[in-house]
């Protein structure tokens, strides 16, 4: 059941997830790594886990990445 997978993914929590405060504190560093094509998720696995689970922080990540890559 496709929907069950969606619910399951929503309910699954990742112990590496650092939370919003920690992720936002290094967002600029993380975004620069991504923009440079470097392994940001490898260097900050807890931030990567958080961005996968937190919609608002993922929006901030997307907005900042767009801002720095759009000139």
């Amino acid at each position: 059941m496709r929907e069950l997978g969606r619910l399951e993914r929503f309910l699954r929590t990742d112990p590496r997830d650092v939370g919003c405060d920690e992720a936002m504190a290094v967002l600029h560093i993380y975004v620069d790594l991504v923009a440079a094509g470097e392994d940001a998720a490898g260097r900050y696995p807890g931030v990567a886990a958080h961005l996968l689970a937190c919609g608002p922080c993922c929006e901030d990540f997307a907005g900042l990445l767009l801002a720095v890559t759009s000139g």
């Binding site: 059941m1 929907e3 069950l4 969606r6 619910l7 399951e8 929503f10 309910l11 699954r12 929590t13 990742d14 112990p15 997830d17 939370g19 919003c20 405060d21 936002m24 290094v26 967002l27 600029h28 560093i29 975004v31 620069d32 923009a35 689970a53 937190c54 919609g55 608002p56 922080c57 929006e59 901030d60 907005g63 900042l64 767009l66 801002a67 720095v68 759009s70």
Partner: protein
């Protein structure tokens, strides 16, 4: 203790120029401030437009949010210039302020014309939010009833209020944080703990059968 800023000669050329110009006096600093502010306004306007589909804020109010965000970000950047440690490019560090200001302001402005009231508890809309085909709601009755039972019986009053607002009623997390006077992180942690509790209950009752990633 936070690490000290890299020596200015170790910064990339553009970042070093920003730090020098904003740290200078007189006309050079004023010109740098004007240039940075213009960039912040441009980024803020682009960001509110990018987010316009997911906020009830529209039209001129959206532009107002962008200008307010740029102004507040500018003040914060100038006040915290000494905190820039060169771990990223200066402009990335600076743009982070305006992006976060946009988030926070859109959250607060949500309540000027909210599409759903706090504590509405629209459980009948949860299947739609989970993307469940209306023709299959009957198949889902058991699992959704178990989710609701856990929310009603196993969450604290605060956890239940937050979970229902964000997950059931679809209130943006930042809007709820603004309304309750909490930080985004505090709301996120409540949802995080609720997800764990619900998942454990669904596994225990045979609705989900793999342990998944374990809890922190």
């Amino acid at each position: 203790m936070q690490p000290a800023r890299q020596p200015i000669e170790d910064l990339d050329e553009e970042s070093a120029a920003w730090v020098c110009r904003l740290g200078a006096g007189g006309g050079e600093r004023q010109a740098a401030e004007r240039e940075l502010y213009a960039r912040l306004v441009r980024i803020a306007l682009a960001e509110v437009r990018r987010r316009s589909a997911s906020t009830p804020v529209t039209g001129p109010e959206l532009d107002d949010v962008a200008h307010q965000a740029a102004g507040d970000a500018m003040l914060a950047i100038l006040a915290k210039l000494g905190d820039f440690r060169g771990e990223s490019r200066f402009i990335t560090w600076a743009y982070r302020f305006v992006i976060l200001e946009v988030s926070g302001k859109l959250g607060r402005h949500y309540w000027r014309s909210p599409p759903v009231a706090l504590d509405a508890g629209q459980w009948e809309r949860l299947p739609g939010r989970l993307g469940i085909d209306p023709a299959r709601h009957a198949e889902w009755a058991g699992i959704l009833a178990e989710v609701r039972r856990v929310v009603d019986d196993e969450l604290t009053v605060h956890q239940r209020r937050v979970f229902v607002a964000v997950v059931v009623d679809g209130i943006p997390l930042d809007a709820l944080a603004a309304e309750l006077g909490l930080r985004r992180n505090a709301i996120y942690k409540v949802i995080f703990d609720a997800r764990r509790k619900i998942r454990r209950a669904l596994v225990a009752n045979g609705y989900l059968d793999e342990p998944g990633l374990e809890q922190r």
